[in-house]
């Protein structure tokens, strides 16, 4: 039994067979990656560690919006222990650049919720690098930058 709805959705996305034609396949891969990005947002909102674990490679490098460098273990621990309680996590815009076995997603991420009893809002530009490993996409690098321009 899956521990969470998000984890189940991620499994579905990861196991959908790819189309045979290359053009359609590329489009299908992009759709798959965007679905995984959205699942990531859901997992953050629900602080769903199991779902996040499925999305990331063991060797993930994560750079948070304040420049903190984290490993996968650090990141998962930070999501769980964070004083921030996100009520709404959305990507306003996402673009996928697809290469052979590699995808780079760039987008704008907006998170709002409550932190120490006060409302907060973050708006960041993110860059995620995904690798295809045995027909599954996993994230190996993720970086966020606060939008200040």
């Amino acid at each position: 039994m899956w521990r969470s709805r998000t984890a189940f959705l991620i499994l579905l996305v990861l196991t959908v067979p790819a189309f045979a034609q290359s053009g359609a396949r590329a489009e299908s891969e992009q759709v798959k990656i965007l679905a995984l990005e959205n699942a990531w947002n859901q997992a953050i909102q629900g602080k769903d560690r199991a779902a996040l674990d499925m999305l990331m490679g063991a060797d993930l490098v994560y750079v948070d919006y304040d420049g903190t460098l984290m490993s996968k273990a650090d990141y998962l621990a930070s999501v769980k222990s964070s004083p921030q309680h996100p009520a709404r996590v959305v990507s306003e815009f996402m673009n996928v650049n697809l290469y052979e076995g590699v995808a780079v997603v760039n987008g704008i991420y907006r998170e709002s919720g409550e932190k120490n009893g006060k409302p907060y809002m973050l708006r960041e530009r993110f860059t995620d690098t995904w690798l295809r490993r045995e027909d599954k996409w996993i994230c190996v690098a993720s970086q966020s930058t606060l939008i200040s321009h």
Partner: protein
């Protein structure tokens, strides 16, 4: 060809050009480290040709203020020299190799002047490289100001 552009051409195809090299991941790691260093030098010298050789045409670059730049945008910005970089130093560089993909993570310190006023910026970057033929090219780069 400017000297740095020549160095970059050699670095991009290092394993086949420079003779006996360490094999596998170690050779790839050395190439990426050298390219990252060359990138810093090219910025200081405003070597547009050298930089252009490093990047894929589909490069997505996120600047420290969250601005998204294409390869053309980025090169134009370097050419304009608004930041008047006098020194760019990268440190704590880690390179992870995943077959024909490499992730480089490091910190940097950039010093220059903007609007006549000196500035120093500290940031963290993540660069994604792919092996295209015998050359490593950068397909994505992102920087974040270090605030702690």
């Amino acid at each position: 060809m400017k000297p740095l552009a020549l160095v970059l051409t050699l670095l991009c195809s290092a394993p086949s050009v420079v003779g006996a090299q360490p094999s596998g991941d170690s050779a790839a790691r050395s190439s990426i480290l050298a390219l990252e260093h060359a990138w810093d030098q090219a910025l200081e010298r405003q070597d547009i040709k050298g930089l252009a050789d490093i990047f894929d045409n589909g490069l997505m670059y996120v600047d420290y203020d969250g601005k998204l730049l294409t390869k053309t945008d980025y090169l134009a910005r370097v050419k304009l020299n608004k930041d008047n970089f006098q020194q760019v130093v990268s440190g704590d560089l880690i390179v992870q190799i995943f077959g024909s993909t490499a992730i480089a993570v490091g910190s940097y310190r950039a010093a220059g002047t903007e609007g006549g006023k000196p500035f120093v910026r500290r940031g963290r970057f993540v660069d994604t490289w792919i092996l295209e033929g015998k050359n490593w090219i950068c397909i994505a780069a992102s920087t974040t100001s270090i605030q702690h």
